[in-house]
């Protein structure tokens, strides 16, 4: 039995807390509302604040694009793809080949396997870069439509494995095609300027790509398209029974992912400076599977989930690289298994189960707490 004074104190304390809660929620809402612009400001300042991490930060934006693009198909639509890397790789090759091809003979260049150097004037470089970056998503979409018509009839694990085969086949084909350098790959034209300015350029291009991807998806998920792909995920047969043009929606979703992945590929090729068919372009066992992991880690099927997952994943990866060098790939493998086995719903998924009230989504209005 508590003495009377203790009871009164406890009551007072609870009352104070109760009175603070609305205030705390208000603060939380303000924070959440201003978080995106704050993050944006941070994103713009970051390469200047942390100059030695510019490349890693650039990759952070790219990783977020990866996760978001996988999530359209895997999280929102329920079609778990192991082969989205194919579009990334197409983008990597297209942007560079186009850039080179505008000013030089590609076949001769790739046949020389690095012996021949390519020197472009700054005008040529940028012209080539932007035309290349424009061509990359176009080719990716064309391939996406063709592949989509063939593959999107498959369901569940058959789709997953078929796309796995696709991703790896793409890498093998690229490694066998001499026009694009075969196994030796392609040396990307060198940036005509200081290392610093080059890094900054690609940092901001990557950031712009990521933000565009995010905003596009955020809008898209509030439209009928967003409803339709969720319906396909929850019960595709039922969606068909209601007359939904499921094939059309599936292909569009596939193509949207292809566009942004193609663009990301175009950028990464230039950031790394060298294209290897299996390790860089069609890196199924690294980027390809990380895409899935990041989205799952953060919570697939949500908008911010892939973003959060990508950030955490990328940071962990960099930490592994720094502190576990030699074992970092093993650590990555362990991470994959741990996430998939213990956190299949991801962080946001776990939150959603615990606090469902935070996730009420109103389809007719733009994105709420998510």
């Amino acid at each position: 039995m508590m003495p009377a004074w203790a009871k009164r104190w406890r009551l007072r304390a609870l009352e104070t807390v109760a009175r603070c809660v609305p205030f705390a929620l208000l603060v939380l809402r303000i924070i959440l509302r201003w978080l995106p612009p704050a993050l944006l400001a941070l994103g713009i300042a970051a390469p200047f604040l942390l100059p030695s991490f510019q490349v890693q930060l650039t990759f952070l934006w790219i990783m977020i694009v990866f996760a978001l693009c996988w999530d359209i198909l895997g999280g929102q639509m329920g079609y778990n793809s192991f082969g989205n890397i194919a579009f990334f790789g197409i983008g990597v090759y297209t942007a560079t080949i186009v850039q080179i091809g505008l000013f030089q003979d590609v076949a001769a260049y790739t046949a020389a396997a690095g012996m021949q150097t390519i020197s472009l004037t700054p005008d040529q470089y940028f012209e080539g870069l932007f035309i290349g970056l424009a061509a990359a998503p176009v080719l990716a979409v064309i391939v996406a439509v063709v592949l989509g018509l063939a593959l999107l009839d498959l369901r569940g694990h058959y789709f997953a494995i078929a796309t796995l085969g696709l991703g790896i086949a793409a890498g093998e084909l690229a490694a066998a095609w001499t026009f694009v350098g075969g196994s030796s790959g392609v040396q990307v034209p060198v940036y005509p300027g200081s290392l610093q300015s080059g890094r900054l350029l690609f940092y901001f291009l990557s950031a712009a790509l990521c933000i565009t991807t995010f905003i596009t998806l955020r809008w898209l998920y509030t439209t009928r398209f967003g409803l339709a792909i969720n319906a396909i995920r929850d019960d595709e047969d039922k969606a068909e029974a209601l007359g939904l043009h499921t094939t059309r929606y599936k292909i569009i979703a596939w193509c949207i992912g292809a566009v942004f992945l193609g663009l990301a590929g175009g950028l990464v090729g230039h950031i790394i400076g060298f294209i290897d068919p299996r390790e860089v372009a069609f890196a199924g066992a690294s980027f390809g599977v990380w895409m899935i992991l990041m989205a799952i880690l953060g919570g697939k099927g949500t908008l911010w989930g892939p973003v959060i997952g990508a950030v955490i994943f990328h940071v962990m990866r960099e930490l592994f690289w720094t502190y576990l060098f030699g074992w970092q790939n093993v650590a990555m493998g362990v991470l994959i298994v741990v996430v998939v086995v213990f956190f299949p719903f991801g962080i946001l998924g776990w939150l959603r189960r615990r606090y469902p009230q935070l996730f009420v989504r109103d389809a007719a209005q733009p994105g709420a707490a998510e």
Partner: protein, 247 residues
């Protein structure tokens, strides 16, 4: 009243089992028609054949004068032929309101239509229909969290949202609390009376069928056994024997 659905000599077999054998029936526009028969008589198979889930082995199915036996599920649905499922299928992770919004008629397949926001008319209509089935308070809850009976009502509302001309209902009252069945039957009738939807209903509950249907078909062992007015079919000795004799 013209014939909206004409099923002529439809047969379907699965491997060695004959599920439907030369079944013929007609559903006229504006009618409420019942389909009864003991378990295993081929009722759901017939429904599946009509909506295009599988191809038929023989016969013809015409909807509004048009042959649909070779069409796919989505095409048939867009013609205005919607079905509900025996196990009740809804989109579990989406909210009830979203379930309704995704059920709008899908005639226009242009890219513009696909990426448009859900229209406010549609939203209003969805809320109206949710109120019609008594699920207004659940509109923002995930459909998977509803009780079985509520899910059935949601599925029904979704079907209405799709503005069908003919609605095939597979055991709409199965698993529903008996006290709520009257309410459901009432809503089914209102769907026909107010919205002009023709209903074709598979039912096991005799009381419901007698109350609801104007014309009944009875299947047994994959064949059409009897048809006619509810009172006549109910007292037909063959029908009684089929039910009593069926294991």
């Amino acid at each position: 009243m013209s014939a909206l659905l004409e099923v002529r000599n439809v047969s379907k077999r699965y491997g060695g089992v004959v599920a439907n054998s030369k079944v013929s029936l007609t559903v006229r526009e504006g009618q409420i028609v019942g389909l009864i028969g003991p378990n295993g008589s081929g009722k759901t198979t017939l429904f599946n054949s009509i909506v295009g889930t599988h191809p038929i082995d023989g016969g013809s199915i015409r909807f509004d004068g048009r042959e649909i036996s070779r069409l796919r599920v989505a095409d048939i649905a867009r013609l205005g032929l919607i079905r509900t499922f025996q196990q009740t299928r809804i989109f579990r992770q989406m909210s009830c309101l979203e379930n309704m919004l995704v059920s709008v008629p899908q005639g226009d397949a242009s890219l513009r239509a696909m990426i448009a926001r859900p229209a406010s008319d549609d939203r209003a209509h969805a809320l109206e229909l949710l109120a019609f089935v008594g699920l207004s308070s659940k509109r923002d809850l995930a459909a998977g969290s509803l009780s079985f009976g509520q899910q059935k009502l949601l599925e029904f509302a979704m079907a209405l949202m799709n503005e069908p001309r003919l609605l095939l209902l597979d055991e709409p009252t199965a698993g529903i609390n008996p006290t709520l069945i009257n309410g459901l039957v009432d809503r089914l009738k209102r769907a026909r009376d107010q919205l002009g939807i023709t209903l074709f209903v598979i039912e096991h509950n005799m009381r419901v069928v007698m109350n609801l249907a104007e014309h009944i078909y009875c299947l047994a062992h994959g064949e059409l056994l009897a048809d006619g007015r509810p009172e006549d079919v109910q007292n037909d000795p063959r029908v009684v024997a089929a039910y009593l004799g069926a294991h």
